[in-house]
Each structure stands twice: as C-alpha cells, then as structure tokens.
C-alpha cells in the first residue's frame, strides 16, 4: 500500500538537524549553555518525537493492512536516482514488519536519549551542534532502515558512519578523541567496501538490488556464500565483530548519550538488520551460517572477558555491547533470525538505560569515568541506582527481565536448531555467565560500598535533574517488562513478537514448538537462570571486597592481565597493518614516485635538458613578451583562414 507519510519519518529529524545546525552558527557566545541546550534540545526532541508518533501510526496502519496474497508492506517510491539504458536505480521507502519495529526503536529510544541530552549537555557551549548531529544521525539510521534497495540502505549505512564520526569527535580539541573518531570512520569504511562488493555481486547474480525481491531467488550455493560473506564483512565493521570490532570501545570518547544512541541502541544493530534482509541468501549457504555463528561466538566470549576486567564505566558497557552483538549474530548464524531482532529490541532498552545511567553517573561525578574512584553512589544518586540496577539485571539475564527472555531464546535456538550445536551452546553459556559477572561488578563498584572520590562538599556527586531521570525510569520500565512480548511457549503465553515479525520474515520452526514442558527448552532455561542468579548474587559479594577478579582468585592472574590488555589486538593491528601502510606510503612517495617513476619518465624523454635549454628563451619572465606571444600566435592562426 502506498503511504507518503513514510517520508515524513525521515524528513522530520532531517529538518530538526538543519534548524539546530543553523542555530549553532548564529548563537551568541555569551548566551548561557543551559538556554542553548534547552532550545536546541527541544527542537531536536520534538522532531524525533513526532517521527515516533508517525512511526506508531505507520505501525498501526501496517497491522490493519491486508493484501490478497504475499507479504504485507507499505511503500513510497521516490523516483529514479540514476538510470542508464536498461539499468535503473529506483529508490523508495518500504515498511514491513521488521523495519516497523526498528523504526519504533530508533525514534522511541532516540526520543528518550534526546530528552536526556537536554540535561546532559547543559554545561556545553556547543549543545546546538550536538543536537544537530544527533538528529542527523537518527535521519541516517531511519534511511538505512526504511530504504527499499541496497543503494539507499548504503546511504544510511555510510551516513551513520559519518554522524558517529562527528559525534565521537564531538570534543575535537583532544587528540585521543580525534584518533578515536578517525579509527571509527576508517574501520567502518573497510566494512563499507564489503557492503559495496556485496551489492555489486548481488546485482551480478540476481539483477536486482531491492531486498523485496530477494526471497525465492535461485542462486548457486557458492555465489550465495560470497554475497553473504561480503555483507557479513560490512556487518563486522558496523556491528563491531571480529576483526573490525576495535573501533567501538574507543568510540566511547563521545558524549555519553551518544554512546547510548549509537553504540547501543541503533547504529551497531544495523548489521543485524542487514542480515535479516539477506535471510533468503544466508539460508542457502550453511557454511556461511557456521562462519557467522562462530565469528560471533568468539567475539562475544572474548569481549565479555575484556568487559570483566575494565575499570572505565563506559568501556565496560562498550565491551558488553560487543559481546551482546555477538549473541545476536550467533542467533542469526544458527538461523534464529527473529530471535536476533528480539534481542536487538530488548538490548536497545537495557543498554540505552545503562549508558544513560552511566551518563548520569559521569555527569554527577564531574566527568569521572573510573569505577574505582566511585563507590557508594547509591546514597547520592538513588534514581540512577535504581534504574541502573534494573538495567544490569536485564543485561545479566535474571529471570523475567527482558534480557532473560531474549537471551534464553537464543540459547534455546542454538541447541534446537539444526545450524547450532552443543559446543556453540557451551561457549555462549559461559559468555552468559561472564555477562552476569561484569554486570554485577559494574553495579557493585559504582553504587555500593563507600564513596572513593573527592569528598569536599563542592565536588560531591549530585543526582541529575528530571530531564535525565525521567527517561531513565521509562527505559527501566521497558527493560523490566519489555520481554513479555516475546515470552516463550513454556509460559503458556503467545509469542507476540514472533507473530508480528513472522509476517515478513521466514521463521525457522523450533522443534517441539508448542509442546509445553518440552525438555530442550526447559533445561537451557533452567541452566541459564541458575547461572545468572547465582553468579549475580555470588559476585556481588565478591566485588564488595575486591575490585578485580584476580585479587579474589589468584589463579586467574595471567588470564585477567591478558584480558585487561584487550588481548593486544590494537597493538597487533598497529604493528602489522597501520604502520606498514604508513611506511609504505613514505616509501612510495620518496623513493618510487620521485626516484623511479619521475626519473624514468624524464629519461625516456631523453631530450629534457637539450630542449629545456632551447626553450629557456621563452621564459624571459617579461610580461610584455608573453602578451606579444599570445597575440602573435592567435594572429598566425587567424591568418590561415584567408589562405
């Protein structure tokens, strides 16, 4: 069905970005940052809030739409972007059950983050620029999600890359933030090359670039493998998986609400969304599914171990994000596509909550990010404590929170679906245990015990204002109860989420589905519940006394040290990739270009010096001569007309 209003979802934040961006040029410097933040923040929030309302309306419209046959969707054609002969790139927007959910997450969670930012940015002179970038980011993400063809998705795909570059480098005065921004952009760009190759191959094999045409394409297994692999490389960039994941932890140098928006709730989930669109191709190649699952599992385990050892509150959350993204990719790798999206949804709730909570903590502690210098904040920040506790319970997968439902469904799928297996299940269960450890460590070190920061009255932490606490409570509510939309059958409830997504996505049936009290579902659920609860409780006690695991259990020393140095991945990349590139560049410039190519071209002329000597006459440097030369030449040419 045609729905022109789809365009408004994109245009609203774009306009917001334009208005706040223009404002930032004309603001007087003496104006208080608070007023700037409030004005631009309200404009930006209104833009994204309205987009949320429209998304809701579209969601409703979609649920009311019925087609005679085939999948249901809303669409709006925008026209031909480029066309040459028979090849046409038409672009348009298309909303089905998958991206309607994504739209709600982006605009809904985005709206809350915008509101939170009004409070968070009230000390910053560049608040208008901040809101402009934030709105632009949402625009790019919405284009990514709503685009009906891969070139348009690519516009959003690179757009979020650029916006995150701008936001990571928001405080551009500092060297390390510049470096983090550059790193994010370049690693994303490498991923983008994968996207381009995937697109080119897809067109070569199928002759179409619209995802709506993908299902039911007949492709050979090997071409499906290569197309899928190219797109998966793109996903490892955007969604921070091995080998391109190293940018995400560094990207935490932007303002904290940005981390909530970009590096938890939206941008990093773009990779999941892309693979959902490619379901028809991925399912053709079991090898590729296995690669995705195992790359993701290793990423997940590795980053979870790093998260356990970090002391920067945002770094803990960053590595936890990488780990949770790993869970989602594992779900895709074993064929549980809708479950991956379900985890995207719940993760958006609790991770946005945790990041915003961390923002509130950092705001309260005047920019301090080291959890070792916090402690006892429960007394000063009761609202933040309460909401963050909910968030970490959900992250740890404590039963009946939202994270429990989605993570449990992933673990169940790993065992039950044909693409999964026991070894994969074990890896992910260990990772789930580690999740509980780092969640509880975060909470304990930050909020419990005694305050370890500066205690003079001026620097004491203070609870944030309502702009910041209200979004926290809303997200806490979602993180706590949001999982029930995907409650498993074992609870004798209807899986609303799958029912909705299933209208647009092929859902692989779990065996024994609908059989109540089936063993394959019950046992993993029991195991993960027990692990989550017992680990959470036990390590809460441990971390009251110790700050790091190796202080409690000496045997883990080597391992902890390795993990806390992030397995030296950055250093290794620097040594084997970055430095050689720069060194080769110097070599090319100094030796090859100047001495080899230049000389040999000179020499092949052979006449250089001789001709040069003759021509020196022309360069007398006298202006009159040149004028005369031009006139004489033109005259000579003109005179030939009369021959």
């Amino acid at each position: 069905m045609d729905s022109q209003i789809l365009l408004a979802i994109i245009l609203l934040p774009l306009m917001g970005s334009f208005i706040t961006g223009t404002l930032s040029f004309f603001e007087r410097t003496e104006e208080s940052p608070k007023a700037k933040s409030l004005r631009s923040g309200l404009i930006a929030s209104m833009a994204i809030g309205l987009a949320f309302v429209i998304s809701l309306y579209q969601f409703y419209l979609l649920s009311q739409t019925q087609f005679v046959s085939g999948p249901v969707f809303l669409k709006w054609n925008l026209g031909e972007w480029l066309a040459f002969g028979p090849l046409k790139f038409s672009i348009g927007l298309r909303l089905d059950h998958i991206n309607s959910v994504m739209c709600l997450i982006i605009t809904g969670v985005g709206f809350l983050i915008h509101l939170f930012s009004i409070g968070y940015m009230d000390h910053d002179r560049s608040a208008s620029r901040y809101f402009s970038h934030l709105n632009l980011f949402c625009t790019a993400m919405l284009i990514l999600v709503l685009g009906d063809s891969f070139p348009l998705i690519f516009l959003g795909w690179e757009g979020v890359g650029v916006c995150s570059y701008l936001l990571i480098g928001f405080w551009y005065q500092e060297k390390e933030k510049q470096a983090a921004a550059l790193k994010a952009f370049i690693l994303n760009r490498i991923g983008d090359v994968g996207f381009l190759i995937g697109m080119f191959l897809l067109y070569k094999e199928t002759g179409s670039l619209e995802w709506g045409n993908l299902s039911g394409q007949s492709l050979s297994q090997s071409s499906a493998f290569w197309i899928g692999l190219a797109f998966f490389v793109a996903c490892t960039g955007k969604s921070a998986q091995i080998p391109l994941f190293v940018w995400l932890p560094d990207a935490m140098s932007g303002p904290t609400p940005v981390s909530a928006l970009i590096h938890a709730a939206t941008m990093v989930t773009a990779g999941i969304y892309l693979l959902l669109r490619l379901q028809g191709i991925l399912l053709l190649s079991p090898d590729l599914m296995m690669i995705i699952a195992w790359v993701a599992a290793v990423t997940s385990l590795m980053s979870a171990t790093i998260a356990v050892t970090q002391n920067d509150i945002k770094k803990i959350l960053a590595y936890s994000t990488v780990s949770q993204l790993g869970f989602m990719f594992v779900a895709i790798g074993v064929g549980a596509f809708s479950t991956a999206l379900f985890h995207v949804t719940t993760h958006a709730f609790f991770k946005a909550l945790l990041f915003l909570g961390a923002g509130s903590v950092i705001h309260a502690c005047h920019g301090e990010q080291n959890v070792l210098k916090m402690g006892g904040l429960k007394k000063y920040l009761p609202h933040t404590y309460l909401t963050m506790l909910v968030g970490s319970l959900a992250l740890a997968g404590i039963p009946l929170t939202s994270g429990f439902f989605s993570k449990d469904e992933i673990l169940h799928s790993i065992i039950a679906l044909p693409y999964g297996g026991l070894s994969l299940y074990l890896v992910m269960t260990v990772t789930a245990g580690l999740t509980a450890i780092y969640s509880v460590r975060l909470i304990t070190l930050t909020f419990l015990g005694n305050y370890r920061g500066p205690t003079d009255a001026q620097n004491l932490p203070h609870e944030s204002g309502p702009w910041m606490t209200i979004p926290l409570y809303v997200l806490a509510g979602l993180a706590l109860f949001g999982g029930w939309m995907g409650a498993p059958h074992i609870f004798h409830l209807h899986h609303t989420f799958n029912a909705w997504i299933g209208q647009s996505l092929q859902i692989l049936e779990l065996p024994e589905l609908g059989v109540h009290w089936n063993v394959s579902e019950l046992i993993p659920m029991l195991i993960s519940s027990i692990i989550a609860v017992s680990f959470f409780w036990f390590f809460a006690v441990v971390f009251r006394k110790f700050t790091q695991l190796d202080q409690w259990w000496k045997g883990s020393k080597v391992f902890i040290q390795l993990a806390s140095s992030k397995y030296l991945v950055d250093e290794i990349y620097h040594l084997i990739i970055v430095r050689p590139i720069y060194m080769a560049s110097k070599f090319l410039a100094r030796v090859l270009d100047r001495d080899v190519i230049d000389r040999s071209v000179d020499a092949s002329g052979g006449l250089v010096s001789k001709v040069g000597g003759r021509l020196r006459i022309l360069h007398s440097g006298d202006l009159q001569d040149y004028g005369a030369m031009i006139v004489i030449l033109l005259g000579l040419i003109a005179s030939t007309f009369f021959l």
Partner: protein, 529 residues
C-alpha cells in the same frame, strides 16, 4: 568531402540555428580580453572591481547558454550527430573550422562553465589585486581553449584549442610562481609537449592513412572510425598514442609526476585551473574518442585489461602517496591522480554504466576539487607577492572549527564529497564506476576499492589537522587569522547546494549526456553477441 549521413539542406539549416548559440563561446572570452585592454587602471595600483564584474557576467552568460543547450535545446532535438556549423579553413587538406555540440559536449560545457564560475567567485581577491589583469586575461584564454576543445569537430581545430590552454598556464606560473618554479614549469612543459607531439603525429598519421586508403584528405572525427577499421595493429597504435596524449593532460598514473611539482610552485588559481579544468579536458578526450572509435582494441585486445589495471593501480597509488604528504598542494595533487584512476578504469571497463559513471565522475570532479581547494583560499594571503609556501603546510593549521563553524561545515561537506559519501555528488560518479566496472572486470575493481579506504584516510586526516584540535595551542595568532568575503560565502553556499542537489538526484544533470554513450552500449552488445 561531406561524409555525414544527413542531407546538405538539413546540415545548412542546423548551422543557421546553432550559430548564435555556439559563437558566444568563442567571442565572449575574446571580448573580455579586448575590454580589459581598454579599461583604465585605477590610480595605477588596484585595478578595481569593474573587470572582475565583467568577467563574472560574461561567464554567467556562457553558463546560461550552455545550461539552455544542455537541459532544454539538445534533449528536444534528439540529434544523432553534433549540431553546429562548418566554415572553410583549409578545405584542400580537409581542415575546417567545424564546430558542433552533442550531448557529451554539452555536459562538459555546462559543467566546465559552472566550475569556472565557482573558481572565479572563490578566487575573487586574486582578480582584483594589482596584477589581477594578467589572471583575468589568462583565464579568458583558458576558457576559450576549453570551450573550443569541447566544441571542435575537426582534429586540427581540436588540437589547436587543446594546446592553447598551455600558454596562459605558463604565463601565470611564470608571473606569480613561487621561488624556483622553473624546474617544475619546465617539466610540465616537456611533459605536455611530449603529449602534444604524440597527439599531432597521431592525427597526421591518421590523415595520411586515410589518404592512402581512401584517396582524400580529411581531419574529421569520422575519419578516425574509418581508419580504425583497417586493422587491429593500426587501431592499437592509435589507441596507445591517444591514451598517452590524453593521459598526460589528465595526469593519469604513471604520467602524473609533473603535477605535484607544478602544484607546489604554482599560485592557487593555477592549481584550481589544472585540477578543475585540465582534468576535464583530458577526460573529454577519452570520452570523445575511446568509446566511439577504439571499441575493438579496448574490448578485444589485452590492452583493455592492461589499462583497466593501470587505472585501478592509479587509484590506490595516488591515495597512498598522498598519505605521506605534508604539503596540502602535493596531497591534493596525488588525490587528483587517484580520482583520475577511477576514470581510466571506467573507460576500459567494457560496461556502459561504468562509462556513464566516468562522465559523471569527471564533471563532478571539477566541482569536488574546486570546493576542496577552496578550503585553502581563506588561509592564503594573496596580497603578498607570492603566497607564502608555508601556509600550505598542513601542520601550520589547527583548531579552525572552534572559530569558524560555518566554514568548518563547508569544509566538511567538501571533504565528504571528495571521499564520495553517498548523498554527495562525489558518490554518484564513483559508485557508478565501481558498480559498472565490477560487472565486467572484477579484478581491477577490487584493487580500486582499496583506494576507497585510503582516500578517506587521507582526506579525514587533512580535515582533522586543519579544523580539529585546540585552536590556541602553539600557533602564532597572526597565522590563524582567516578572512572571508561575501563572494566567498556565496560561492561556498552554491557549492554546498550543488553537492547535495547533484548527490541526491544526479540523473537529470547527466541524462542529456547519455545519447552518445548509449550508442556505445548498443555496439558493445552487438560485438558481444
């Protein structure tokens, strides 16, 4: 000797229609030079705004005519040949003042006029200073030569206009060049001279062959097609000769080494001209001759693959060498080499869409390069005799973003266009080239994709160096003073609007240029079947 398919009467009719449209492209630049001769000097020192305003107005007229021809007139006519007129010159040798316009020429004409206008706006302060008159006259000659190159339908005429562009560039570098400009200028001259010799000898050889086999002298473009059909070695010989002559002017790797050196020694207006316009002339040469006349050697011999790889390596090589540069001019020169690599790859890709992409890329390259170079305009003080070379050292600058937010925005959008971000005009060309090229030749495309990453790295490092960082730290305040004029603001606004407008909806800007290229696709399909 008229070999055209159309009747004589139709030809005559068209020539009468076209005369008022095409003649201004030759008359107006000459008119500008004449006016300059008669304009009085303002008390001997500054030479006032008047010549500059005339300069801009004449260009605006040319832009207007070319826009009308490009968007309205030619698409309505639906011609299969170039519409124009033909005056006798040396008819016994087959040399005519034969001028005409088709979709390809109109696309180039429109975009080069646009680029010239933007350059003139950006560089306002160079034209109104003491020696501005030399710049103005030189620019008029460049405009004349570029217009003539795009409109010529006769090889000798083409050659004359093609070579004419060198004179004003030599003059400008000689008058305003930095210390020790001679070596660089000499290299440039020798290079382009070698290219000219290659071209002229190819043209003459062509005419001789034509005479030997068909018994009459002709320098019409169509004679090329006739001679190419003679034998494969002949066509390969001519293709390589043409390649070298266009590649030198279009600074294709490995014929690019004159470029960084000349950039380093030239005043900013010359850099603008070389990157914005000379590139286009080389590219026009490729697009005019290669798809139409060298189809056989391009697609059926190994030379096609060789040149594809050459282009792809040029992309990577240019970006990679640019990474090591500390001087902004040299860096931009190598980036230009990188951009040219995409173009060459597309020409030899055997794919219509890539060819269309190459048309887009080259037209857009002028705009991209101009807006990228324009970042440096406010940073360079034109009042001093020759601009201080040190201001081009990237490390001289930092933290401009804190003081000049709108300038930063403009610079960022220009940077993004140069690294071909979707939504900017830079993307339309690069994407089409990579897309089309991949469909036929996977290897070169994969090589070129490395350049996509490297190019981004180079450009972002430049942007961060200039605009990010703390503004006060360690720099003398004097250096950090940046001044903008209203002209500059206007030009920046136009440039940003064009970037987005063409980027979002490129099709209407380039669709009129498709006619000639589509013919190539049809032939290509025939040969493949």
């Amino acid at each position: 000797m008229n070999t055209s398919n159309t009747g004589v009467t139709e030809q005559l009719m068209i020539s009468q229609i076209m005369l008022p449209y095409l003649l201004p492209f030759f008359i107006l630049p000459l008119l500008g030079i004449i006016i300059n001769f008669f304009l009085p000097k303002n008390n001997g020192k500054n030479f006032g705004l008047a010549p500059w305003i005339i300069f801009i107005s004449l260009q605006a007229v040319m832009l207007g005519i070319s826009a009308y021809l490009h968007f309205d007139f030619l698409p309505a006519l639906k011609l299969t040949f170039a519409a124009g007129f033909k005056w006798n010159w040396l008819p016994s040798l087959g040399i005519y003042f034969d001028v005409g316009i088709d979709g390809l020429a109109s696309t180039f004409l429109f975009f080069s006029s646009l680029t010239f206008l933007l350059i003139s706006l950006f560089l306002g302060k160079w034209f109104v200073q003491e020696k501005g008159r030399v710049y103005l006259n030189s620019f008029y000659v460049v405009i004349l030569s570029v217009n003539g190159t795009f409109l010529s339908q006769n090889l000798i005429l083409f050659y004359l206009f093609w070579e004419l562009v060198l004179l004003p560039i030599l003059v400008m570098v000689a008058v305003y060049g930095h210390k020790d400009y001679r070596a660089a200028l000499m290299k440039f001259f020798i290079f382009t001279f070698a290219g000219s010799v290659a071209m002229l000898s190819a043209f003459i050889a062509l005419a001789v062959l034509n005479y030997q086999h068909f018994g009459f002298w002709e320098f019409d473009f169509t004679s090329l097609g006739r001679v190419m059909a003679l034998s494969t070695p002949t066509s390969v010989f001519f293709m390589v000769a043409f390649f070298i002559s266009f590649a030198i002017k279009g600074h294709v790797f490995p014929f690019h080494t004159w470029l960084p050196q000349l950039y380093e020694k030239s005043p900013l207006p010359v850099i603008f001209l070389i990157t914005g316009v000379l590139f286009n002339m080389g590219a026009y040469g490729f697009l005019r001759f290669f798809p139409n006349y060298f189809l056989w050697p391009m697609t059926q011999t190994a030379w096609g693959d060789f040149f594809s790889y050459l282009g792809a390596f040029g992309v990577v090589y240019g970006a990679w060498v640019a990474l090591a540069q500390t001087d902004a001019r040299r860096m931009l020169a190598y980036l230009s080499v990188s951009h040219m690599g995409y173009f060459v790859m597309a020409i030899f890709a055997k794919n219509g869409f890539a060819l269309y992409g190459s048309l887009i890329q080259t037209c857009v390259h002028g705009l991209v390069a101009v807006s990228l170079l324009a970042i440096f305009v406010p940073l360079i003080n034109s009042e001093t005799k020759s601009e201080a070379s040190s201001s081009y050292l990237l490390s001289q600058w930092r933290g401009l973003a804190a003081k000049y937010p709108w300038f930063t925005t403009f610079a960022f959008i220009s940077t993004m266009a140069a690294l071909a971000l979707p939504g900017t005009h830079g993307f339309a060309g690069e994407f089409s080239i990579l897309f089309g090229s991949f469909q036929e030749k996977v290897g070169p495309t994969l090589v070129a994709l490395v350049g996509v990453v490297l190019g981004a790295l180079v450009l972002l490092k430049m942007f961060q160096q200039l605009f990010w960082g703390a503004s006060s730290e360690g720099t003398s305040e004097k250096n950090m003073v940046v001044s903008f004029s209203k002209r500059y603001l206007l030009a920046a606004a136009i440039s940003v609007i064009l970037t987005i407008a063409i980027g979002i909806y490129p099709q209407p800007w380039f669709a009129p240029g498709q006619t000639g290229l589509l013919k190539f696709v049809n032939t290509l399909n025939l040969t493949q079947r």
